[in-house]
Each structure stands twice: as C-alpha cells, then as structure tokens.
C-alpha cells in the first residue's frame, strides 16, 4: 500500500502537514485531516482488534462453567468481561473514523472482516485457559504496548487502558500454568500439552515475516505500527522462553537455541522454522474452530435480533412520548 495513492492534487499540502504532525509525535484526532488510506488502514486494524476481543470471549468462555475453583471461576469471568469491555472501546474508537459498529459486526459475521486467527484454536482443557493468558495475552501485549503511542489519538488512548488489563491477564495466565506445573503428574502433563498446542499459533500471532508483510512499511511511517512483525515475535520468544524454563515446561521447538550474537550482542533465541502453510490455512478459514466461532457468534446475533428490535422500538416509543409531552 502507498500512502499517496488515490489522493487528489489539492490534498497534497494537507498530506504533507499530516505527515509532519506525525513526525512531530503529535496525535491525529477524529476531526483532523487524514489521508483516506490512513483512515482505511486504521478502521481495518481497530475493527480486527475489536472482533478479536469479542471472538476471543468464546474459547475462554468455554471454561467458565467448568473452572476448577470459585477463585478461578471469578477471575475468568472478570477476564472475559474485560474482553467485552475492550471490544466496546475499540468499536467506539473505530466509529470515530466513520464506520458503525453494526457495519463492522455484519462484516465479522459474513466472514468479510478478519479477527486474530489464534481464536480459531480449541480450548479442550483447563490448562488452555492458562496458556491463552500466558502466551496469547503475552503476545497481544507485545503487539499492543507500542500501540499506546499510535498516531491516532482515540486508538492510542483505548490501548493504554487495554494494555493495563491485558498485562494483569497475562500474569493470571502464567500463574495458572505455574500452579499446574507444580501440581500432580496429570496437571503437569495437561500444562505441557497446552503449551504444545498454543506455542506455534502464538508465535504466528505477530503475522507473516517482514519480507511477506506488505502493510508494515506504510504503517511504520504513519506510526500506527512502530516495530516489524519479526522484531516483536523475537522479543516475545526471548521473554517467554525463560518463563517456561522457570516452571519446568518445554517449548516445543527443537531448534530453539540461545544465540549470543543476536540483538547486537545482547543475545536472543534463534527459533525453528514457522509453518506458514498452517498460518495461512487458518487465516483462510480452515483452522480447527473457524466455523464454530463464527457460527456461534452468528447464532447469538440472530437469536438476539428480537431483543435489539424491541430495544429500538421501545426507545422510539419513549422518544415520541417525550416529544408529545413537550
């Protein structure tokens, strides 16, 4: 994508001023001028992020009624509720760019809009709840912390709040894994199996390698994105590997090894080959739970139509009562 595409000659000075503003690290606000491509990129990115929060409620919601203790049940409920809240802020942030939540929801349900592929994996055991918190929220934070400084004001502000909650979720997830790892043989095995299931999908959450990521360059220029996919992925791996070691779990990558030359001599982990075929298979809709996730959201949406219609009708009746009374 090129930032200058489809802009009229009259807009060129505005675009230059827009870029200067970004270069000065000033925020772009909803009523400010912005190139159409910037608006579209943000709508797509914030919309996908909002959808991910909302779809992400399903794999974890799957364990609320079966959570092993009251304490865990309450934490999980609070976490899933936070995710609905994140979805709401993000839809609101996207709405400031001119697209309604209804339109975005319809695009999600029709399959036109994407959400994070990670939620197309199943949560067969309680340990998956730990693994999601630890790895998926961990990867999400790596992606999201730079977004707190994103050039678009409403998105950056939403991200500050979201990141605080996400880092709490990540600690909670790691603590679940730690408890399992220190538990019985069955619990340790459950934790290891969950790590085996979630490791590669989490590593893939950062998206394609930089050489195959067409949006990165423009997004970096616009300060929507501040690091490349590979940079973030490596940072994530470097953070998680010692955490896994600490609790006695094994990262399922036989090629993972410490390389002291990485990161300008500070060292870092070299990882094995990522199965991008698997990544694209899931992105294209053929992951283990793609159909179930969307069918489930669609069912809830369709079954809730009468409720939303009633709310609209009730509000409009009340509106006319107020008008009549005036």
């Amino acid at each position: 994508m090129n930032s200058d595409t489809n802009n009229s000659v009259n807009e060129i000075p505005l675009i230059e001023e827009f870029q200067k503003k970004i270069d000065r690290d000033e925020k772009i606000e909803p009523k400010d001028f912005m190139p159409e491509a910037y608006r579209k990129t943000l709508i797509r990115q914030i919309g996908q992020h909002a959808h991910s929060e909302v779809v992400g409620m399903l794999p974890e919601g799957n364990w609320i009624t079966r959570a092993p203790t009251l304490k865990r049940k309450l934490s999980l409920l609070a976490k899933v509720q936070d995710e609905a809240g994140h979805g709401l802020y993000l839809y609101c942030a996207a709405e400031t760019l001119g697209k309604s939540r209804l339109e975005m929801t319809e695009e999600l349900l029709s399959g036109k809009a994407k959400y994070s592929s990670i939620f197309n994996y199943p949560t067969p055991t309680w340990a998956d709840i730990g693994a999601i918190g630890w790895l998926v929220d961990g990867a999400a934070i790596m992606n999201q912390i730079p977004l707190c400084r994103c050039s678009y004001g409403p998105y950056a502000r939403a991200m500050i709040r979201i990141c605080k909650e996400e880092s709490f979720h990540q600690r909670q997830g790691y603590e679940i894994m730690l408890t399992l790892a220190r538990g019985t043989k069955d619990q340790r095995e459950m934790a290891q199996r969950a790590l085996n299931r979630w490791w590669w999908p989490s590593v893939m959450m950062f998206g394609p390698s930089d050489k195959d990521s067409p949006n990165t360059e423009t997004s970096v220029k616009w300060k929507i994105k501040r690091h490349t996919n590979d940079e973030l992925r490596e940072k994530f791996i470097d953070a998680i590997v010692p955490q896994a070691k600490k609790i006695g779990l094994t990262i399922p990558d036989k090629d993972l090894k410490w390389d002291k030359k990485r990161n300008n001599g500070l060292g870092g982990y070299a990882h094995g080959k990522i199965d991008w075929e698997e990544f694209w298979k899931v992105v294209k809709g053929n992951g283990p739970m793609n159909n179930e996730r969307i069918s489930s959201k669609k069912k809830a949406w369709d079954e809730g139509l009468w409720v939303r219609n009633a709310a609209r009708m009730h509000a409009s009746k009340n509106q006319s009562t107020v008008v009549a009374a005036e």
Partner: protein, 255 residues
Amino acid sequence: MKKDMVDMVFEGLLRIGDDNLILGHRTSEWCGHAPTLEEDLALPNIALDLIGHAQALYSIAIQLKSDYNHEDQLAFLRLEHQYKNLLLVEQENGHFGNTILRLFYFSTYMKYFWEQVSINCFFKKLKEFAEKAFLETSYHSKYSSQWVITLGDGTEESNKKMLEAVSNMEPFIGELFDNDEFADISFKNKFLPKPSSIFKNWEKEVKNVLKKGKLNLPEILLKKNGGRKGEHSEIFGFLLSDLQYMQRAFPNSKW
C-alpha cells in the same frame, strides 16, 4: 453459638449461597452469546457478583463446621441432594427474556431479603455482608427491570416472548415465599427474614414493572418446591456435572 444455632446458620448460609452460585452459573452460560455486546458485558458482571456472593457466604459457613476447610468443598463437592437452592435458579436459561425475567424476580426478592438481613440479623458477619449484597442486588433488580419493560413494551414479538417467560417462571415463584420449618425457626431466632414477609413488597414492585411492560403477574401459588430440601429438577444433574467436572476428575488437586 450452640450446636442447633450453628446448624441453623449453616443451613441458611447454604440456602442463600446455593441460590447465588447456581443462578451465577446459569447467568455465566450467556458469556459470549448475548444479544448485544453491552449485555455480553453486563451478564458476566452479574454472574461475577452472584458467584462472589456465594463464595463469601460459603466462606462464612465453613468457619462454623470443622468438616470443611475450604469454600470450594461446598461449591463443588456436595451431592445433588445436598444443594439447597430454589428450583427457579437452576432452570435452563431459555431465551434472553426468560433469563432476564428470572433475574428480575430473584434479584428483587433478594434486594428486600438483604435489606431485612442488614437491619435484623443477629449474626454479625452476615449482617455486615448484607449491606454490600443489598447494593449489588438492587442494581441487578434495576438492570433486569429495565429490560423487562423494554422487552414487554417493545414489539409484538418481544411481548409474546415475555408472555412466554412469565408463564415459564410461574410454577417456580411460589417457592421463593414458602415458609418451611427452617424459615420459621430462623425468623424466631432473628437470623433470616420469613420468605412470606417479602412477598408484599416484591409483588408491588414486580406488578408495577410488569405493567409498564404490558405484562401481568399471575396468581402466585406454591406449585413446585423441593429445592430447599435438596429435591431438584432432572436438569440439575447436568448443571452439576459441568460445575463439578474438574474437582471430580482430578480429586485433591490444587488449582
């Protein structure tokens, strides 16, 4: 406290704790499946309050008996007949209007219940807890009353669905106000209010809300009861298999 008083307090805490746990469980089943994102936020929030109440009540209860050392034993490791919740709260969710009406009936009842406990209860720990519970339950009652009015008044279809909900709930309301032997004893000992004493306020408020939603409250008769004695609906076993799965599959583990 004498043994019979301990038994009475324990039984009372279980009854209210179980009501909250089981309704919280049912409410949590909505998570991710609600008609709007706002409701996807509200329903888990309410489930969180209800299950939080259960946890607090069980934690008071276990201090009374040496057979228990953790509230999870009460929540997860009893047999079906040892749960003392109302039949109303264990019923399947049905549609959104059904869930909302059940929440409205229950939380309006509990609002008046907690209010009286916060004034009259001799047992300090519960009396103090009642103040917090009153506030949260009042919010649940208000939230659900707004939806009852909205859905009752909204469209022809939504009114029809709410009529269905009124009729679905009707056999289970009588049990809310049933004064059994325990209720009489606990009232005499200034522990809990008599369920029947809540009826007047409850009826007035419920009728008023239903009327705004173009609905009527049917005559309340004691049609189905047994929950307080541990006699539950068939579906309750499935609820427990869900709730207890982990504790049963992996006994004596720390989570």
